[in-house]
């Protein structure tokens, strides 16, 4: 397997302005030093609660948000070093599917225009070929040809999300960021769209960075899973290992908090106290120590390093002092 995407120490700080001269008075550290690798044809699920920086990370990887620092290497090219023109050319291989199928389609364009737009922008094929491609794409996402001349308001949420997916596939990308693609949909429609995404992975070999707050949704589509908290990846492992044995105290709490749709299985719940600290003023040391049930004095002082608690071929990374040697002694 070869690496498609490598992200090294990516940071995205948003300046907060205030005071008399509208100076930068603080930074919101939305993404604070995230590193991971994504292999060709695999999907990395990114899970975390609102404000943890998962959407910002997804956009920063595509440079839709200009990262503050770090490296993003896609197919061997460092995206951070590209100028505008070169970046646009590279955008052909990377696409995004947005969360809100109501806001991400232009209400004034027909479905045909919307799906065809990427082909027009990158000047691919003749007009006749483009039309044909659009029809093929509709077929892939399971919509009928008759919808082409209609407008977004005529469709349900699930259908709109299919249209958004068709648009993202227009340029045959090999990498797609899917930012909460099903969270605006009802459950009966959610699984239809998830099945579609799973099929695209299998049949088209597309790699996804799949962002969601829902661990169950993430499990269905992901090969690897990263858990984010306050701008950092706190755990990163294969989906199988992570769901079988979550190691980070935050991941454990997150898993136990999900309501189980079975009245006979009352889950043993780890209830976390308090709220997520502000990313403008993250706590020193481990970002999770303020709510962690296993916090030690050491956690308040030092940022935990990344520890591999798995094996060499099957890494399971945890950023937690519970697994470091200094803390144990």
């Amino acid at each position: 397997m070869s690496t498609l995407l490598k992200v090294v120490d990516l940071k995205k700080y948003f300046p907060v302005r205030g005071g008399m001269f509208h100076r930068v008075v603080a930074h919101v550290k939305a993404v604070d030093g995230v590193s991971f690798e994504l292999e060709k044809g695999r999907t990395l699920g990114l899970v975390g609660e609102s404000g943890c920086g998962k959407s910002t990370l997804g956009r920063a990887v595509l440079r839709l948000h200009e990262p503050t620092s770090g490296q993003i290497i896609l197919n061997g090219d460092d995206l951070m070093k590209l100028d505008r023109e070169a970046l646009t050319a590279h955008r052909r291989q990377m696409q995004i599917i947005f969360q809100d199928p109501y806001a991400s389609l232009s209400p004034r364009r027909t479905i045909a225009q919307t799906i065809q737009e990427p082909l027009d922008v990158h000047k691919i094929g003749t007009p006749r070929e483009r039309e044909k491609k659009v029809e093929e794409l509709l077929d892939v996402v399971g919509l009928r040809k008759q919808v082409l001349s209609r407008y977004p308001h005529e469709f349900s949420g699930g259908q709109r999300q299919r249209i958004g997916i068709a648009r993202s596939l227009a340029l045959n990308p090999n990498f797609i960021v899917a930012d909460e693609p099903v969270s605006a949909l009802d459950v009966s429609v959610q699984s239809q769209v998830l099945n579609l995404i799973a099929r695209l992975q299998r049949e088209h070999g597309i790699s996804f960075l799949f962002i969601s707050h829902d661990l169950a949704v993430i499990q269905h589509v992901s090969d690897d899973v990263g858990v984010m908290y306050l701008g950092r990846l706190v755990e990163l492992a294969s989906a199988e290992d992570l769901y079988r044995e979550p190691r980070h105290p935050y991941t454990k709490a997150l898993m136990s908090a999900i309501p189980v749709p079975d009245p006979k299985k009352k889950s043993k719940r780890i209830i976390l106290g308090g709220d997520v600290p502000s990313p403008m003023d993250p706590p020193p040391g481990c970002p999770f120590h303020t709510r962690c049930p296993d916090a030690m004095p050491h956690c308040k002082k030092a940022v935990p390093p990344r520890v591999n608690v798995g094996t060499e071929d099957r890494p399971h990374f945890v950023d937690c002092h519970l697994f470091t040697e200094e803390a144990a002694t």
């Binding site: 459950v187 699984s191 239809q192 269905h220 709490a253 999900i258 309501p259 719940r269 709220d275």
Partner: protein, 329 residues
């Protein structure tokens, strides 16, 4: 829980709620009947547009009229028919006998008044208290719902609080006059899972303490499984199934309930290739089919289903009922 000895606290019969739209009248709630007994928690579940929220709002006559209108039916609470009360009598009822908490705590609280002021207003409206007494009571309530340092936080404004905190304030406010019935409309949908777990635990605990009945309106079957005694499943304005919670989850009768339960993404032992789905989409309320409204999506539908609409027949012993000609058995 449906006991023969006690009379129901709330008894809804043949309720029809209609909204006039540009395209003609839409029946958001179409001939529903149900009971809520003292100390009981009843879940109303269904997907967007099924009429669950309108049902909750109609009980307190909070739907905008016009365009909304109660076409027929009765809502008996403690022996009085709420549909026959004047607006003034209804105001007496709201907040004191029946309270409601809403999905979006930010829009439900007034941003220009401190939390304390809003709570004191509610208390003084329904109880004969001095400002000082009301304030003490409000501080007590904030403490009861688990807000740290309530004496200090009572003077804060809604924007100074986190989502979970605001929802606690809403709960404190709703419970401050000791209502007999609490209507909770998606109380945790806007919250993160870890916060959701905190808030739901609190609601269930308080319900016990205050000896209230509760109607929990939600799309989340997981939340229903964990906190309700009985549930009502709605589809296109109709009640299609009602059952004790264990029966509903372990022996669902209606094919829609079955489909809904199957399609919830849940954490599984093994990743599955295809999630079970309910095919098709919810029909448009303006163009409803004559027979069963689920027939077009139903794997068990026959000609009979398309001709006449099935009605719910409640079993007098179990209190369960289903509107289906071919129940799952």
């Amino acid at each position: 829980m449906s006991s023969e000895h006690t009379a129901p606290l709330l008894s809804v019969r043949n309720l029809v709620v209609e909204f006039s739209t540009r395209y003609g009248p839409v029946r958001a709630v179409d001939d529903i009947s149900f009971d809520v007994y003292p100390n009981e928690t009843v879940g109303i579940v269904g997907e967007s547009g099924c009429g669950k929220t309108v049902t909750g709002l109609t009980l307190l006559q909070l739907i905008p009229m016009p365009p909304g209108r109660i076409v027929q039916g009765s809502i008996k609470f403690d022996g009085r028919d709420l549909t026959k009360l004047s607006e003034k009598e209804m105001q007496e009822m709201r907040g004191s006998d029946i309270s409601m908490i809403f999905q979006e705590p930010m829009t439900a609280l007034n941003p220009v008044f401190s939390v304390g002021n809003q709570m004191i207003d509610v208390l003084r409206r329904h109880k004969n208290l001095t400002r000082r007494q009301a304030r003490e009571l409000a501080i007590n309530m904030l403490d009861t719902v688990g807000i740290p340092a309530p004496r200090k936080r009572i003077d804060e404004y809604p924007h100074q609080m986190s989502g979970g905190m605001r929802q606690r304030v809403m709960i404190a406010m709703a419970l401050s006059c000791g209502p007999k019935l609490l209507i909770a409309d998606e109380p945790t949908t806007a919250l993160d899972v870890t916060t959701q777990a905190q808030v739901m635990e609190q609601i269930v605990k308080l319900q016990d303490e205050f000896h209230m009945s509760m109607i929990l309106v939600t799309h989340d079957l997981g939340v229903v499984a964990e906190s309700c005694d009985r549930a009502i499943v709605m589809y296109c304005g109709n009640i299609i199934e009602t059952a004790a919670i264990d029966d509903l989850f372990h022996k669902p009768q209606h094919p829609y309930t079955r489909g809904l339960l199957d399609s919830i993404p849940r954490i599984r032992e093994e990743r599955v290739a295809e999630l079970p789905i309910i095919r098709g989409i919810v029909p448009d309320l303006l163009h409803l089919p004559d027979g069963c409204r689920f027939a077009d999506r139903c794997p068990r539908a026959t000609d009979e289903c398309r001709k006449d609409k099935p009605v719910v027949n409640i079993d007098p012993v179990t209190g369960n009922g289903v509107a289906c000609y071919h129940p799952m058995g």
